[in-house]
Symmetry: C2
Subunit: 256 residues, 2 copies
């Protein structure tokens, strides 16, 4: 990040410029610390002292404080008297390279359980019917689940499945299984591919309450239409991940 | 989405349950309308009348109103007297299937311009040096750009490039070119692959001001380490996309 500038005369414009520069540097430092928190981590989960961070990154103590304030506001760190600045939140990596259910992708991190909020047939709204290639108003199974990892709310998933497969799902243990696995078991066919769309949205009051997050919290929203190996679309999902608990990682190539 | 339930006795518990059900249905309807806005769109950019939407989706007028309120809060629609509910925001699709610069990926949607906020050599902080495989504290080029599409702020990008390539970048027109293209031109080598991580975060006050978004607005944060064809890491980026202006789309496969 840019080195500290020499102190200018305290004219208002220069002061505003200094504040802007410090805010820029604080954000840039916060980005690097956030990355380190998520990858190598910090020994014992405790960040280095402010002076040490300042020296390592070539920035002033005030810039370090401002960066740590940003991470505190995000809920990533807390200041503990006598200990220092400690990591308090863990983010879990969800792969973008392969189509996997939540329990599959997070199996190293703990146990995924699903609180089934809704499960039953509904007439397919036109856009759902169209994407699942079903006649309009034909029944689809609609499932809404609050998904937890080790008890902590991770995501709120709304799933639509054609009724010929969905009827079988209603007899399955939806609490302890990914829908992906169950669909493969019921159809005797592997899943093929899925078109996904990712967005960042602010949680509405109700979703926030269900996810036990603050109102307006940033949510990673995933829309996913999954097909069986034979190409048939069988699973349309709208998933709201808590932004403070999930990252998505993958590898992109320049040429196809 | 689940069909409307029959009206229960107005006991407080039943009333609370009805409110919860309606909130769930409103969110589910909002998800479908949001998808339609982004894909097929609505004729003339105007949503159908509330009664029509209610009939199409099998939900009550109150549920429709609540869903439209959610979309209004997101800044996606507005109510215009005498016209109805109209789409007011456009979201642009950024591909997740191929490694592309912003101007490349959005060329159908308009002109990307870059406001260069910072461009100069800085001593590489340890995590930057490590990821770019450079000796610690060796100089890297640090560029910060506010990127606009047709004049509207889309993203705030912080880029670190090794100085042997970065020195050449300083002589290039950074305002009208993707850094990707410039690196390929300067090195005479195509880019290879990039490791990416996506997160949803709430914008801090300063980033929000730069992006001309409300404080706390949901931001899609992309971290990307890009390599040349020969495997050398040459471009480390931290990109904050305005959540209300960008979606990321791709295709995932079940097996490798």
């Amino acid at each position: 990040m840019p080195a500290e500038r020499t102190r200018e005369h305290a004219a208002p414009v220069a002061a505003a410029r200094r504040r802007r520069l410090r805010a820029d540097r604080a954000r840039q430092l916060a980005d690097l610390l956030r990355h380190q928190a998520r990858t190598t981590g910090f020994p014992g989960g405790v960040l280095p002292l402010e002076g040490r961070i300042g020296a390592d990154f070539g920035v002033s103590r005030n810039t370090v404080r401002q960066a740590l304030d940003l991470l505190r506001t995000e809920g990533l760190v807390e200041r503990q008297p006598g200990v220092g600045t400690v990591l308090v939140a863990e983010k879990y990596p969800h792969g973008l390279d392969r189509l996997q259910g939540l329990a599959e992708t997070l199996h190293e991190h703990g146990r995924v359980t699903n609180e089934v909020r809704t499960a039953g047939p509904v007439p397919a709204p036109a856009p759902v019917a169209r994407r699942l290639e079903l006649p309009e108003r034909s029944d689809v199974l609609c499932i809404e689940r609050l998904r937890r990892l080790n008890g902590l709310p991770l995501s709120l998933d709304l799933t639509y499945v054609p009724m010929d497969i969905g009827a079988g799902l209603l007899d399955c243990d939806l609490e302890h299984n990914d829908v992906f696995r169950l669909i493969e078991r019921l159809t005797g066919q592997a899943l093929g591919s899925a078109g996904i769309t990712l967005e960042a949205v602010n949680a509405d009051a109700h979703s926030a309450a269900v996810l036990e997050a603050p109102r307006g919290a940033a949510v990673l929203m995933l829309e996913r239409l999954t097909h069986l190996c034979d190409g048939r679309p069988v699973d349309l999902e709208f998933i709201r991940f808590r932004g403070d608990r999930i990252t998505m990682s993958g590898l992109l190539h320049r040429s196809h």
